[in-house]
């Protein structure tokens, strides 16, 4: 047995890819748990095909996970190009090469069975893809994934993923005993035979790695006294819904939102609530609205196409001032689009999607940790302001895993009991405060409050009316609530410096990548900062003043905008990214955007490269001294 040379690295990004159904995702979960339990910070992203069983051995079948592990406990995004990829076949590897996902000089571990496979076409494509990988600068290391697994099992499909995790355990100098524990927990619902086989294969993979690798990596653990949890954003939403005191989640299955409802279904009944799977997206929000009207604030969880179907009910919630929370886990659109992949394209729809003027609150969590807390905030706003609150998550947050400080459950807010105290007969159901538009909500069962809640225009007494004056008043009062909420918000903090050449403005899950790009840029001496918006409606105060301190302001978004250099596109017809539109309209500043629809999260380096082309010369031309030497020190 050789003793491998250990190379210490502050962080690494690893991808594990197989054909769909071969278990790379499970392997990745096990590896991520191993890293987390060993004290590494972590962010993972799923690589998911849109079909359950796409044609095997094709690039479209590549399924797996990207794991970014680091010394520091807080990892905020999926990182840059991968340092290591473990592929079960060459087409899975090719898909990552084509996606531009591998760093120059990345280490490729690949199953060697294809080199001698009975299907000659596989042999040929295996040779070709490996050649391509080497040309890309990759170091290729062939590993006997299938062959070794077959020594332990009759069907390699059912275990080579565990052998693969064992190999990675050795490659990253991790403790195989911790891995065995992780696997036992991961397979706790499986039979003892399955668990034993998985543990045995992982051990075999580990032994293989220890015996054969001349070099291995070490990402040192960080030591923290604060307990950490690791989960994906959809699980965080589910636990957050429980903590926020929701009692009903009404939903209809839709990717990539559904796993939030899976997690919720699993536990909700023990917490006094339940998940209702409705017959369609429309009924899903209708049931939530009915429950909320009856006094129990409910939520519905969906994605873009479901949002489209729910728009009429959104208008009803706004018109009747029924508190309601919608979570939209955004995916690629329009139409069915890219069902498993990230996009931030529903912002305009969330803001303006319903016919008529329908003011509503829109907030976006920017980390998985925020996914846990956001529903408490959403619920409070929905109830206090009698408003529809839309929470915009996305596929990146939904399926990625992050390590964050364990929430203190004792801090969970207590829910007030249902107020059924009598009111004088004829009490006004919309007793609007003329300044704020706020009013007390009456619920069925309250003596004296009997009356109709209608989708028609109505006045303070709730009764339908059609005249100009009262229609104007109803609109003004519903709109005023947004202003009242806006007055309670504080200007968002700027990340980096308070002034400079360029301000990047983002929202949602791009935060980690944007801030890392800002770090990279400032380390190079560029005067670049960023600002992240949690509230998209109402927008927080002070944006215009903050923007004025920067030479340029651009938004960074994962949605479509026209390339200004594309044919036919000019200043008059160019369509901007969605937040850019809104900020241009609200600030009257010439705000540009860096926006595209790659179906994956931005890598910090991509944003950084754009920043460099935008302001590189400006910042550099200022003089020989970098403007912020301390920033350079901090990141060197």
């Amino acid at each position: 047995m050789s003793v491998a040379r250990r190379i210490s690295v502050p962080e690494h990004t690893v991808e594990i890819v197989s054909d769909a159904g071969e278990g790379a995702q499970k392997a990745a979960v096990a590896f991520a748990q191993l890293c987390a339990k060993s004290g590494n910070g972590l962010w993972t992203v799923e690589i998911i095909p849109s079909e359950i069983r796409p044609p095997p051995h094709t690039t479209g079948s590549a399924s797996g996970n990207r794991i970014r592990l680091a010394e520091r406990s807080k990892v905020t995004n999926a990182g840059n190009r991968a340092n290591v990829v473990l592929a079960f076949n060459e087409m899975a590897l090719l898909s990552r090469l084509q996606a531009g996902s591998l760093a120059d000089g990345a280490l490729v571990l690949i199953d060697d069975q294809w080199a001698t496979h009975e299907v000659e076409a596989y042999q040929r494509s295996y040779r070709e893809v490996l050649e391509q990988a080497r040309a890309h600068g990759c170091t290729v290391r062939e590993i006997p994934l299938e062959r070794e697994t077959l020594r332990h099992l009759d069907d390699a499909q059912r275990g080579k993923n565990m052998f693969a995790v064992g190999v990675l355990c050795a490659l990253y100098s991790k403790d195989p005993d911790i891995l065995a524990d992780v696997i036992r927990i991961l397979f706790k619902d499986k039979s003892a035979g399955v668990v034993d086989a998985a543990v045995r294969l992982a051990a075999a993979g580990y032994q293989y790695g220890v015996a054969n690798f001349e070099e291995c990596f070490e990402v040192a653990p960080s030591h923290s006294d604060v307990a950490k949890v690791a989960m994906n954003g959809n699980t965080a939403l589910a636990l957050g819904a429980v903590a926020a005191g929701f009692e009903l989640c009404s939903m209809y299955p839709i990717t990539p939102a559904t796993s939030a409802s899976h997690a919720l279904s699993d536990i909700f009944e023990r917490f006094g609530g339940f998940v209702h799977q409705a017959e369609d997206e429309i009924a899903a929000i209708g049931v939530a609205l009915g429950a909320s009207y009856a006094g129990k604030t409910a939520l519905t969880i969906t994605s873009g196409p479901g949002m489209a179907l729910k728009t009429e009910f959104q208008g009803l919630a706004v018109m009747t001032e029924t508190p309601l929370v919608i979570v939209d886990v955004q995916r690629g659109g329009p139409s069915t689009g890219l069902p498993t992949k990230i996009e931030q394209s529903d912002l305009m729809h969330a803001l303006y999607g319903a016919p008529g003027d329908a003011p509503k609150v829109v907030i976006a969590p920017s980390t998985i940790e925020e996914c846990y807390y956001v529903l408490s905030l959403a619920r409070r706003i929905a109830e206090e302001f009698r408003m529809l609150v839309i929470v915009l998550s996305d596929a990146n947050l939904a399926t990625g895993q992050q390590l964050f400080d364990r929430p203190d459950v004792a801090q969970t807010p207590e829910r007030p009991p249902l107020d059924l105290s009598p009111v004088p007969r004829g009490a006004l159901p919309y007793d609007w405060n003329p300044t704020t538009g706020l009013s007390r909500r009456l619920v069925p069962g309250q003596p004296g409050g009997m009356g109709v809640t209608t989708s028609l225009n109505h006045d303070r007494d709730g009764k339908a009316c059609y005249d100009a004056e009262r229609n104007q008043r109803g609109h003004a009062m519903r709109s005023r609530k947004l202003a009242a909420l806006q007055k309670a918000l504080v200007p968002p903090e700027v990340y980096g410096g308070p002034q400079g050449d360029l301000l990047l403005v983002g929202w949602g899950s791009t935060r980690g990548a944007i801030e890392e790009a800002v770090d990279m840029a400032r380390a190079e001496g560029f005067e670049v900062s960023s600002l992240h918006l949690q509230f998209l409606s109402p927008l927080p105060p002070g944006l215009k003043e903050t923007f004025a301190k920067f030479g340029r302001v651009i938004t960074v978004e994962l949605n479509y905008s026209d390339d200004p250099n594309a044919p036919l596109i000019d200043e008059e017809n160019r369509r901007y990214a969605q937040l850019a539109w809104i900020l241009r309209a609200t600030t009257l500043l010439d705000i540009d955007c860096f926006a595209s629809v790659p179906g994956r999260p931005y890598m910090p380096v991509e944003i950084f490269e754009h920043v460099r082309t935008l302001v590189g010369d400006e910042s550099r031309n200022r003089g020989s001294q970098p403007p912020h030497p301390q920033a350079k020190e901090a990141h060197s």
Partner: protein
């Protein structure tokens, strides 16, 4: 008599208020003169009064259409929603507050057309609610378009040379779903039968689906043989069914029918001439969806709630 005395003494002991019809009145209805909706509203008010329900503990839910204005005129809590969606809202109310009785009111276009999916599934869920479809065989509020139940060849604004399709038979559609727990048909020109039918629906625990035939005096005055004048009907009679008063026998024949027999109910449901009136089917064994869900939902106190949340957090704790 003894029951009446017992009730009176109970009222006295508990100081319970005995409600009057006025307690269930709200705004003055604005339906056209001669519209059957007036009769349904009055029947509902009589049933609520008879059961002496506190108006604050009753919720009526509707969609959009002439009949869907009913919650505006009923003195309970009411929700006048959007077209076709009364049943999801009603389901939400029932799931959230199973102590509140719910009445859902829809028209034929509302329920059978735009709300068709919810109609099917609400019956499958079997929420405990009284569901009334006021079927005038036409879209009236939007001024006379064909609905799924508009008779063969009748002229409307969207079918100026006559309808193209045979009308939907809502009864046979409902009886095709073996999840149904209560199906009855009545008509506004038979007020005593209407009262008895709504009363029976009220007593049933589960989704009581009632189709109420009524003409639209403005846009469909000829419907149902000019509002029952020349409309062949057959009363279904059974001791567990809806009573057929002797005075009704002049309006149609009487036929024995066991509402617990699903095959008989299916056979009767496909009959349109004469139209069956009364209780077609009732299954008192079918559990209501909200009961199932609440039985399986635990009600932990705050300490237990936090303890359990902590346990769940343990599962995700890595260091």
């Amino acid at each position: 008599m003894i029951a009446k005395l017992a009730e009176e003494s109970l009222l006295e002991v508990c100081a319970l208020k005995e409600h009057t019809i006025e307690d269930y009145e709200a705004e003055r209805p604005r339906w056209c003169t001669g519209c059957g909706d007036h009769g349904v509203l009055a029947a509902l008010q009589r049933v609520l009064r008879k059961n002496n329900l506190d108006p604050e503990n009753v919720v009526s839910v509707s969609g959009i259409g002439c009949s869907s204005r009913l919650p505006h005129y009923l003195g309970t809590y009411g929700f006048h929603g959007i077209h076709g969606r009364a049943l999801p809202i009603a389901t939400g109310v029932r799931l959230a507050r199973p102590e509140l009785p719910v009445i859902a009111i829809m028209g034929d276009g509302d329920c059978f057309s735009i709300g068709g999916n919810h109609w099917l599934h609400a019956i499958r869920y079997n929420i405990n609610a009284v569901v009334l479809v006021l079927d005038n065989e036409v879209y009236a509020l939007t001024k006379m378009q064909a609905s799924p139940t508009t008779p063969d060849g009748w002229k409307t604004n969207t079918t100026p040379r006559g309808t193209y399709l045979h009308p939907l038979n809502p009864l046979s559609a409902v009886m095709g779903m073996t999840n149904v727990s209560f199906l009855a048909q009545t008509a506004t020109w038979l007020p005593a039968h209407l009262d008895e039918t709504i009363e029976k629906a009220w007593e049933h625990h589960g989704l009581s689906f009632v189709r109420i035939l009524q003409r639209c005096p403005v846009f469909m005055p000829r419907a149902f043989g000019e509002g029952g004048l020349h409309f062949p009907i057959m009363f279904l009679e059974h001791e567990d069914g809806i009573p057929v008063h002797p005075s009704l026998s002049s309006r149609g024949g009487v036929q024995p029918h066991d509402p617990r027999n699903i095959n008989e109910a299916q056979r009767v449901a496909v009959t349109v001439d004469p139209a069956p009136m009364g209780l077609l089917y009732q299954n008192t064994e079918l559990p209501a969806y909200e009961d199932i869900r609440w039985q399986r939902t635990e009600k932990p106190d705050r300490a237990t709630f936090l303890e359990r949340l902590d346990d769940v957090m343990n599962e995700y704790t890595v260091s």
